[in-house]
């Protein structure tokens, strides 16, 4: 039986690379007593594959892996069992059965959503100007960029690979200034830094209760969460667009250099493309919708 699992990767788990996440899930399957299928031979391995590797440093609310099992209880029970053995920051969201003929998540990946939030202290001085420039950037018919390949660099047009690019508002609708609320498409997604999952800052020179002078550690977003960038880009084995490539192009367009650690990126969803009627039209569906809950 083929199963698709959706999970979140939050908090400290963003520091764990893709290969280690694979090992993590192999062990988690045993801890949760998932009746997973093994390959034969002297070093049997679990039948397991991941949709799209997530870079180190990125958070996610929508990661996928496929497994094959000999038997499974209800989706609710399997989600419960897996979550009982997860470490902090990892959360299984769904466990759904696929058709036996279903293609793997890896081969289906077509697009992904990202939200890029300014890290505290890294917000642009004029946020309205920033988003105005973003609208102009996105409105271009072509966006030529240099992409690194195995044999050097080649020019490519990034524009057709960006499916959506919008402002995400940190404040609720009614508090928004009317003048700007009808610029490019607006998403209602919360900024990832609005949750208390942000980075940690060290404030030097503070004094501990004992009177010792120590760097005191304070958690996360001390600044007000600021507006963020929503991106939907082409993802997969042929044209894989990383959000950082788009942001670099945006900053180039603005005549600025993108400083490292300006944004905290979070992947929100990964899609398959079921195809539309016309040439180049898309019908993107979240990978989990291709499976069904087990009652």
């Amino acid at each position: 039986m083929k199963i698709r699992i959706k999970f979140r990767k939050q908090g400290i788990m963003k520091f764990i690379g893709h290969l280690d996440i694979m090992r993590y899930f192999q062990k988690a399957m045993r801890r949760a007593d998932v009746d997973i299928c093994y390959s034969g031979g002297f070093s049997p391995h679990q039948i397991m594959s991941f949709a799209a590797p997530l870079g180190v440093g990125l958070l996610s609310n929508g990661e996928y892996l496929d497994i094959e099992v000999n038997s499974a209880e209800s989706s609710a029970e399997m989600v419960r069992r897996l979550n009982a053995v997860m470490s902090e920051g990892m959360e299984v969201l769904s466990y759904r059965r696929l058709d036996d003929s279903a293609k793997s998540a890896m081969s289906l990946v077509a697009a992904a959503d990202y939200v890029l939030a300014f890290r505290p202290g890294k917000e642009p001085e004029d946020i309205e100007a920033f988003f105005a420039a973003l609208s102009e950037f996105y409105a271009q018919p072509q966006i030529p960029v240099m992409k690194k390949t195995k044999s050097g660099e080649k020019e490519m047009d990034l524009r057709p690979l960006i499916y959506r690019m919008e402002r995400v508002w940190a404040v609720p609708d009614e508090e928004r200034p009317a003048a700007v609320s009808d610029c490019v498409g607006v998403s209602e997604r919360p900024s990832p830094l609005a949750a208390a999952t942000g980075p940690v800052r060290i404030v030097p020179g503070m004094t501990a209760p004992s009177g010792k002078e120590l760097p005191v550690i304070v958690s996360g977003a001390v600044n007000e969460p600021s507006d963020a960038v929503f991106l939907q880009v082409c993802t997969g084995s042929t044209d894989n667009v990383k959000p950082e490539l788009v942001m670099n192009a945006l900053y180039d367009f603005m005549g600025l250099e993108l400083a490292p650690f300006t944004f905290q990126a979070e992947r929100e969803e990964v899609y398959a493309d079921l195809g539309g009627s016309g040439e180049g039209s898309r019908n993107l569906v979240p990978l989990e919708t291709l499976g069904e809950d087990i009652e």
Partner: protein, 621 residues
Amino acid sequence: MRKLALNDEILLSVQQPARYIGGEVNMAVKDPKKVATKFVLAFPDLYEIGMSHLGIQILYDMFNGRDDVYCERVYSPWFDMDKLLREKNIPLFALESQDPVKNFDFLGITLQYEMCYTNVLQILDLSRIPLHAEDRTEDDPIVIGGGPCAYNPEPLAPFFDIFYIGEGETVYGQLFDAYKANKSRGGSRKEFLEAAARIPGLYIPAFYDVTYNSDGTIADFRPNNPCAPEKVTKELVVHMDDAWYIEKPLVPFIKVTQDRVVLEIQRGCIRGCRFCQAGNIYRPLREHSLEYLKNYAVKMLKSTGHEEISLSSLSSSDYSKLPELIDFLLDEVKGKGINISLPSLRIDAFSLDVMSKVQDVKKSSLTFAPEAGSQRLRDVINKGLTEEAILNGARDAFLGGWSRVKLYFMLGQPTETEEDMKGIAYLSEKVAETFYDLPVEQRQKRVQIVASSSFFVPKPFTPFQWAKQCTKEEFLRRAWLVRDTFQEMKNARSLKYNYHEADLSVLEGVLARGDRRVAPVIEEAYRRGALFDSWGENFDNDRWMAAFDACGVDPDFYTVRDRDLDEKLPWDFIDAGVSKEFLKREWKKATEGTVTPNCRQGCAGCGARVFGGGVCFEDKN
């Protein structure tokens, strides 16, 4: 969410940020504010090494079993992180709460090998704890050392408040109780150390004075505080099944050296190899019961999800219920994709049968540890492995499909002659001949034999503790002689010979048998940049030699000098169970080439019987 001590910019700019974030599966989570005692356990080496260590996992779990203690962990930051912590002025922190190490009540550092000593100083330094115990204030953690190197703690004496001599499962509870009691009556650091000195197995170096003779040997070593005993007796677990063991070992996110469940089947060894410190200090041999091991094997596999379980002991073949245990494990892991690894097995018909069931014969290799090239020298070191047993085992293995053999030797052991050295090549050649003598249809096409030799380092509490160590030049001369002999062998193309670094072994020799006068050298070497010395590529011998020079300490005094049997040794104040009389007898028998039977063949009267358990009482049950 737990907060981290480091920001993303730091964590994403170092190799393996997972070394510094904690949060692993089965990590203990407590509110540091709600416990009386905060303990941080340090393994002074890289995370990947430290996380592989069973002892730390046992103590971590045991300490956290107490509601009034929160035990956390810290490992040596790698060079990249070391640099960043210093540049950005960030104090070293524990993984669980991410709180600075300096804010803890205890810093416990395990001492598993001598070459980690500069890393001990790094941990203190980065934690901003004064390196010298005498400079610490009421606000500093109590720094306590343990592990095998605590059997000669003297080279580290100035840096520690307490050393715990022996197995950690026994008296930490008493120590925590004493700490709490002292704190609640407002007692000072010194008062606490005095209370600790009264607990068996604990050694407080500041409570002892050493004087030296004009020839540099120790004249006198005696307590300067009425609370400190003349002799400190090692602590040990008498009945293994009563000792604390882990049900939920930590599971790291990244691949570590020992990425598997470790099941300790027994402690100690009956063999009595005369060079082996572990075989002496862990006496007597004590087994776990079969039922106990079955229970823990199942629980630990379940709680970790590891894909491999390894049996741990000094000589697994000596475990009396081994066939039953292996049958159980084979049955238990069937169809679950779990491997069984069986290190330290003697190669014979039984072990070959078991290994063919648990591993891919074509891909795995056989390991023999003859330790010496000739029967004469094997008798000197009391290694009860004969050439016949090696060749018979190899023949059976070749018939079973194996074609890769590893042979481990040691160069520079007492009385070694050129014939003994050449014997390393001769024995390897005989293993190759054994292979090619078999009909070609009954074996693989080619055999690959890899012989490795390390250099002998005399260790405290072994019969060889009086032995003269070779100089670096002599070590290399011997290694080259072996290497050249290998080239003369008929099957040279099937043989490969490796040898370790000689200067590292010489330094290890100084640290292993050093006294308090070696401490300034360690500190000076650290100041000059020595760190991660056990990692060959980071070891800089010149830096160490310059440190010896700067401190006016002659390394030869500790290595190549002849020691008189009556000399006061730096570790003589420790009672490790094996008596000095026994070690002397064994040293004498070694020079005569006389073997001593193992504990099950006959009691050699080593002295460990006084502990009242283990193999010494086996047939009396």
